[in-house]
Symmetry: C2
DNA sequence: TGCAAAGCGGAGGATGCCTCCGTATCGTAT
DNA sequence: ATACGATACGGAGGCATCCTCCGCTTTGCA
């Protein structure tokens, strides 16, 4: 089942489109290097456009984050379908969350911001949420059906826990994986 | 074993002490109402002192947070000893984390900031960390000794997970407790 | 080629961070 | 009670960032 395409406000006029791309690229690089609280003026400077251009295209910092996230989110979703094909139910679920966590570890605070954003109201994030939800549910439901996950666990419960793992910045990857392990163990049905 | 007293820079001169108290009170209220990223000028205004006074006493936002946290942290630690007396090992541990979580839910983002701060280097937070660690280890070690918690789990693993639960702001208490449940289940030894 | 629509970019107002220093207050020694 | 040194007060102002607004430029269609 193909997820909906994410909406993308990329403008049609040549100069506008060029600047849009430059801004998104600059933002992606700058966010990765210096965290998501970098000055927007810095990003505009790096993209070689005026601050006005940035603000016209992206009315808020969040709007810019959205544009940066879109590819990443898609690739996270795609991996879910790969894992579903290649692994047993619980392992597929575990692998997906591991990759989600790994993505977060390598991208600084992007993933945790994403997790926060998944709770937001914006139309963009509604669609993201739907896509992630669809991919995640595929794995989670199979794992539940196989009796390997407690039936009362919600997908976004797990997403939130995993997102919270590297929320506080600069966690050791080793500790992060130990934390994920705890969460994964917590998903299993009561042993009794 | 009594934890170390937390250092407190409350000044001795009458006017200074009065302003110190006003500032801490105003900061506690404002942080609880509007989150910890409130303008410091707003806090000074609310306390009825000049911005200069605030900065002389608290050279950084963190220093102000420290002063606000000190009581809260102490009371979190104290509760651990109560639970230890009154409950069975695992229940005591669970109750402590539940109260920690509840404290976070009622205090907005204070608790999650605290969790982040526990990783910080400042002398203040080193002592906080030591106190929390002492209280937490008491409960965790007993639970491990009773065979009710996996031996490879670290205290700060759990602290971080619990802290991460309401990191993203505005979580429903019901969901928060479901998440804590998952974490608690994850602590139990493998069923095999 | 001409022209309207769309886009550009930076000046500038608003707000927040933090420093500095002239003035006011406190506590003590006489 | 008084006087004086130490301490504290508080806001003006320098700097950075956010975001808006509007006169000028570019684009793409007819």
């Amino acid at each position: 089942m193909a997820p909906q395409p994410l909406p993308c406000a990329r403008p049609t006029r040549a100069d506008a489109a060029r600047n849009y791309d430059r801004l998104v690229t600059a933002a992606r690089e700058t966010f990765a290097e210096h965290g998501t609280d970098t000055s927007l003026e810095e990003i505009a400077r790096r993209a070689g456009v005026g601050i006005g251009t940035l603000y016209r295209r992206f009315p808020s910092r969040t709007a810019l984050l959205e544009a940066v996230y879109v590819d990443e989110i898609q690739s996270v979703c795609d991996r879910a379908y790969d894992f579903d094909r290649e692994l047993e139910p619980f392992d597929a679920l575990a692998a997906w969350f591991r990759s989600f966590l790994g993505y977060g570890l390598s991208k600084g605070s992007l993933a945790s911001e994403l997790t926060v954003a998944l709770g937001k109201e914006s139309p963009f994030f509604q669609i993201c949420k739907a896509n992630v939800q669809e991919a995640g549910h595929l794995l989670l439901d199979k794992a539940k059906a196989a009796g390997e996950v407690r039936p009362d666990v919600e997908l976004f419960d797990i997403m939130r826990l995993v997102g919270g793992i590297n929320m506080g910045r600069d966690i050791e990857p080793e500790q992060a994986h130990r934390l994920l392990d705890i969460v994964l163990c917590g998903l299993r049905p009561a042993a009794s």
